[in-house]
């Protein structure tokens, strides 16, 4: 088991360099002071009102995500690897989505089976042949990375639709700066505060050619009842753009307008946090009241940019994920800098046999599930749960993949009885604009609060940490 502060079990005597100052500080700081700060942080979060609606939890529809005050620290050289790996990944993803909706070279080359695309619910036939500004489809990606030892990072998931969590990255930093100025004085931590500016620049850079030099950007939210509504309003505020719902927009002569008190105003770029299915009832689900009728026609006419583009789910589908190394090779001619977790595709019968035989050792996931739903962690599951899951798996194998249970790295975390290692992952946010890919140094570190737990999803009780990337 690799601990990011104390290294592997064999080397537990030595604190890893990036954590040395934190180690000292933790030693110098009295437990009651730490505890006081912890409660103060919680109070601040409550005051800000940063909450997360958890689906299927009737008792507490909105609750605070636990915040851990001990930062997770990455050295400059570690970040350098991550950064290069993430940029490489997003380049390949954009090339892939562009290809899938146009020439489909990758299918002609036989790298991917055709039915994995055409029969995939997240593939959008409606996007076929649709040109998007500067061929950028995924403008904002949240790529989930885990670590298993000092050198090895794996990409666990590419979130290429409407990834959320960046508000936590920003809030966590703000609160840490407020509560622990003395700890920051011992480090040179790369800033993350400019993320909203970078995001706005990215969005403006992909405005349609018809837009003015200062394009109008809006954030489209499904509304108050969405689990990420807080983030939507937070980001709109930070970006200084309008937060709109579908009913605030109207399409006339293939142009999208926003209703304002001074009449209609043309909209050029929509940072949409609504799923494809609900975007336009004239093209997708006809019963959607969240979307904008005619939006896709304005999109087709190149009068508006949607970020992310429609149909990008094809790039973060869990079945497609298993092909990412080949996808990178195909478009970039490069080997992946960040590893892919070996993945068994249950749609292939020999893989299915293996998975059924080893289900107790594997993590088995529903291809279209997310947020930790529809997932079985073999080593942590009891017999009855496994049996029920196997029945589901056998009835529809093509909907499942399985991966080995990775020994996720741990980070020191404040728990009931002091400070103890807890498993973490990392979601850095990658921005892709007209001619620049930018990754804000840091991201959202999620931490599984119960001892030994590997489930970091906030919907399953995971917490967050501030993520520090050290300047050289």
């Amino acid at each position: 088991m690799f601990d990011e502060m104390q290294g592997s079990e064999q080397s537990r005597q030595v604190v890893r360099p990036a954590y040395a100052a934190l180690w000292d500080w933790l030693g110098e700081t009295k437990p009651d002071v730490l505890d006081f700060r912890r409660r103060e942080a919680e109070l601040l979060f409550r005051r800000i009102g940063i909450t997360f609606a958890v689906y299927g939890d009737a008792e507490a529809h909105e609750r605070l995500i636990p915040f851990d005050i001990i930062p997770r620290i990455l050295s400059a050289s570690e970040w350098d690897v991550l950064h290069r790996g993430l940029v490489q990944r997003i380049k390949a993803i954009n090339a892939f989505v562009n290809d899938i909706y146009h020439r489909r070279e990758i299918l002609k080359a036989g790298v991917l089976p055709e039915d994995l695309i055409f029969q995939n619910p997240v593939f959008r036939p409606e996007m076929n042949g649709q040109k998007v500004p500067h061929d950028v489809y995924v403008h904002v990606a949240g790529i989930d990375v885990v670590r298993t030892d000092a050198e090895t990072f794996y990409v666990l998931e590419d979130n290429a639709r409407t990834p959320s969590g960046v508000s936590y990255m920003l809030e966590n930093r703000e609160i840490m700066l407020r509560l622990f100025p003395e700890l920051f004085s011992r480090y040179r931590v790369a800033p993350v505060e400019h993320y909203p500016d970078e995001l706005l620049q990215t969005l403006k850079s992909v405005a349609p050619s018809a837009a003015s030099s200062d394009p109008t950007v809006v954030l489209l939210t499904p509304g108050l009842h969405n689990s990420a509504y807080y983030e939507h309003s937070f980001l709109a505020d930070k970006l200084g753009i309008e937060l709109v719902e579908g009913r605030d927009l109207v399409v006339k002569d293939e142009v999208v307008h926003m209703r304002t008190t001074e009449g209609l105003k043309r909209v050029d770029v929509i940072y949409r946090r609504i799923d494809d299915d609900f975007l336009d009832p004239l093209v997708f689900r006809p019963d959607s009241a969240l979307g904008v009728p005619g939006l896709m026609s304005a999109y087709q006419a190149d009068n508006v940019t949607l970020a992310n583009a429609v149909g990008t789910g094809i790039a973060d589908d869990k079945a497609i994920y298993s092909y990412m190394p080949q996808i990178l090779k195909f478009y970039l001619g490069e080997d992946p800098i960040l590893k892919n977790v070996p993945t068994w595709r249950c749609r292939e019968s020999d893989h299915l046999t293996y998975v059924l035989e080893h289900i107790g050792e594997l993590v088995t996931k529903e291809v279209h599930g997310s947020g930790g739903y529809g997932m079985l962690i073999g080593p942590a599951a009891d017999r009855a749960t496994i049996a029920a899951f196997c029945a589901k798996l056998k009835s529809n194998p093509k909907d499942f993949i399985a991966q080995p249970t990775l020994a996720l790295s741990t980070c020191p975390t404040c728990v009931e009885d002091g400070i103890a290692p807890r498993h973490v992952d990392l979601r850095p946010f990658v921005l892709a604009g007209r001619d620049r890919i930018h990754v804000v140094p840091g991201g959202l570190t999620r931490v599984a609060m119960p001892k030994g737990s590997l489930v970091v999803n906030s919907s399953q009780g995971g917490g967050t940490k501030d993520t520090w990337v050290l300047d050289r």
């Binding site: 409606e126 109207v250 006339k252 004239l282 093209v283 005619g294 026609s297």
Partner: protein, 268 residues
């Protein structure tokens, strides 16, 4: 055969709507056995009609208005020259490989009953696609009663098959669902049919299916009439289901009641 078509659709809003957007798939294209001699599409109130092609190669027009509308009127008028292709449709605008048309949609998803029918038909016909499709067409024609009372009741293939009643749309969905279960690419076609009995006035457009048969290509099957496509058919739009090929998909702003009036005349 030379077929003339007049198709008018009137939406009335009470009180007037504050605006509307409509996507129209009402313009046929040429293919080997279909030549569009004359075609005109008019919308009132007068508005810009942007013509484009959708992802499936259908011609679309988008109408939008952001002012009070008591009604919208869409008039289509044209003439199409057709030939009998023995059911086979060649020279169509194809934007996807056939295998895309194995794709499920909410309206064509198979349930246990549909899968059972697919298995039965596949077995009885030695899994020969053309034989299976003919058998399927007859079977659905005999088993699902034509009931125009259901025109405005949206149903999935599985629902229609369970109810054993429906209109051409529902029979077509069922046909597509079963064909796809058999591994045969199938799609929905919206268009017009000139009736053999000489009656020209119709209450609705027609719908049928196309299935991809190896060595032949796309073949039109009309389960509502239990015949393959002839020169009496005018093909307007295709899609994975009726939504994808819908002649009109629209939305209006404001709260008003909508009433719809359709008048279609198909004749020589």
């Amino acid at each position: 055969m030379r077929i003339s078509i007049a198709h008018s659709t009137v939406y009335r809003y009470e009180p007037p709507a504050n605006g509307a957007v409509q996507v129209l798939r009402l313009t046929p294209r040429n293919h080997d056995s279909q030549y569009v001699a004359r075609w005109r599409i008019d919308v009132s109130p007068d508005a810009q009609l942007a013509m484009r092609e959708d992802a499936f190669g259908n011609i679309t027009h988008v109408f939008s208005a952001a002012r009070p509308l008591p009604e919208i009127r869409v008039d289509v008028d044209g003439e199409v020259e057709t030939q009998d292709g023995n059911g086979v449709v060649r020279g169509t605008a194809e934007r996807f490989p056939q295998s895309l048309f194995l794709r499920d949609t909410d309206l064509t998803r198979a349930d246990a009953a549909i899968r059972a029918l697919a298995e039965e038909i596949g077995t009885a016909n030695g899994c020969i696609p053309l034989d299976s499709l003919h058998a399927l067409m007859r079977r659905l024609h005999d088993e699902i009663a034509y009931d125009t009372a259901l025109t405005n009741t949206p149903m999935s293939a599985a629902e229609a098959f369970a109810l054993k009643r429906g209109v051409c749309r529902d029979l077509t969905h069922a046909f597509i669902a079963v064909a796809r279960c058999l591994g045969i690419p199938a799609r929905y076609v919206a268009g017009y049919l000139q009736l053999a009995d000489g009656i020209t006035e119709q209450e609705a457009g027609h719908a049928w299916a196309e299935a991809f048969v190896p060595d032949l290509g796309w073949v039109g099957f009309d389960p509502a009439n239990a015949i393959c496509q002839t020169d009496a058919y005018v093909r307007v739009a295709v899609g994975l289901d009726s939504l994808g090929a819908a002649p009109v998909r629209g939305a209006r702003y404001g709260i008003s009641a909508e009433s719809l009036e359709v008048a279609i005349k198909v004749g020589q």
